[in-house]
Symmetry: C2
Subunit: 230 residues, 2 copies
């Protein structure tokens, strides 16, 4: 398997490139529009054919490269069906399987950050990894105060879904703001302060009191992402 984690500095976004060594099929998760030329360069240099661009949700902090990449490569674009995004090739639902050559991604519906948030699970060669979008971050979780976000839904997505994955599962988030790149489910269970609050009520109370400013790009990014970033 070919794997790359790529970083876009302005929005601190991690984009993931997955490639099948055998068939050369590839997928990109959570792309950023300004980085599209670099993705195309890397796909070309690694001799990979892009078949899917997936988003974990309708982003509010950056514009997806999905539409441009579809134009450039003919790939399909995927996003949760809850996004009601007329531009995507397929609206995903919980449990959907996405084949990337001989690799297989599984969509897990994890509402909370937004009502269209999905995580993608990959099991390969005895190792599992989960691309957690803005649902589970390293030592943090995604905010839940707009785009039909819900702290209650996020608590259930975290505790009833993600944290039931094996402890050794690698966690690959959509963002990190302190320069950390990777974690595991076990590590987050033990050291993520928001997962130590002890109850649904305490979690909801904590999330409701974050008082975060809106993302700078929100008014531009959300409408743009509803048309695949175009």
């Amino acid at each position: 398997m070919i794997f790359r984690q790529l970083f876009e500095r302005e929005s601190s976004t991690y984009t993931y490139l997955l490639g099948c060594t055998e068939t050369r099929a590839a997928a990109l998760i959570d792309t950023v529009k300004s980085e599209v030329p670099k993705y195309v360069q890397l796909l070309d240099e690694l001799d990979l054919q892009l078949v899917y661009v997936l988003d974990t949700h309708t982003h509010a902090d950056h514009i997806t490269g999905a539409g441009e990449l579809r134009d450039a490569t003919g790939c399909k674009t995927l996003l949760g069906e809850e996004a009601h995004s007329p531009c995507v090739s397929t609206g995903l639902k919980d449990g959907d399987l996405i084949p990337v050559g001989k690799l297989l991604l599984k969509a897990i519906y994890t509402p909370g950050h937004t009502d269209d948030s999905y995580c993608y699970l990959l099991e390969h060669g005895g190792q599992s990894c989960v691309f957690t979008g803005d649902t589970l971050l390293i030592r943090s979780t995604g905010r839940t105060d707009f785009q039909n976000g819900s702290a209650t839904a996020q608590y259930h997505s975290l505790f009833d879904k993600l944290l039931t994955l094996p402890d050794h599962t690698w966690v690959y988030p959509a963002h990190d703001y302190k320069g950390w790149q990777i974690s595991t489910i076990g590590e987050e269970k033990q050291h993520n302060p928001r997962l130590q609050l002890g109850s649904l009520d305490a979690y909801v109370d904590f999330m409701h009191n974050l008082e975060l400013p809106n993302p700078t790009l929100m008014d531009v990014a959300v409408p743009a992402n509803r048309t695949c970033g175009k």
Copy 2:
């Protein structure tokens, strides 16, 4: 083996944490002083004992965390003997072996970016990786125009040493400015534009004509790093 690549945004520096699963001994390569509290947090959370802090060279773009980490943890600090740095625990020379629990790093002297530049090779579980400092970057190489840098020496370090490693060797550089994190020797041989110039003369000519501004922090960082960042 425990492995983390950490990113410091201001100087675009990658720091590497290597840990031995069995003995819990750990090493950090190319630390940044402002990040020391985060390293200490992560070492603690991963239940690791820091035994070595290594620098690949005397940095001109950031201040090393070596001295502070030695004070905080009692670890040893390592740097090439050519640095003539009175503060380091040991001055390394070509071929030195550095045991980190059951992991073994090998120092490779690779002058060029500076005259005290080293790379560190790790072979583990059938996979090799090399921490290339500012000698080999992803699709680039480190500048050679100060601190006794030499484009000729760098050419030989690249072609006679690093590029003789197996193609599948992972390349972990000290910096990347475009958000890429990892490469391989084979990939760089094939796609790094500076490695396609065809001759020593062409390489030296190219490096002499880069006309780069000095790093902002150079006048502060170089003297500070000669005292382990303190």
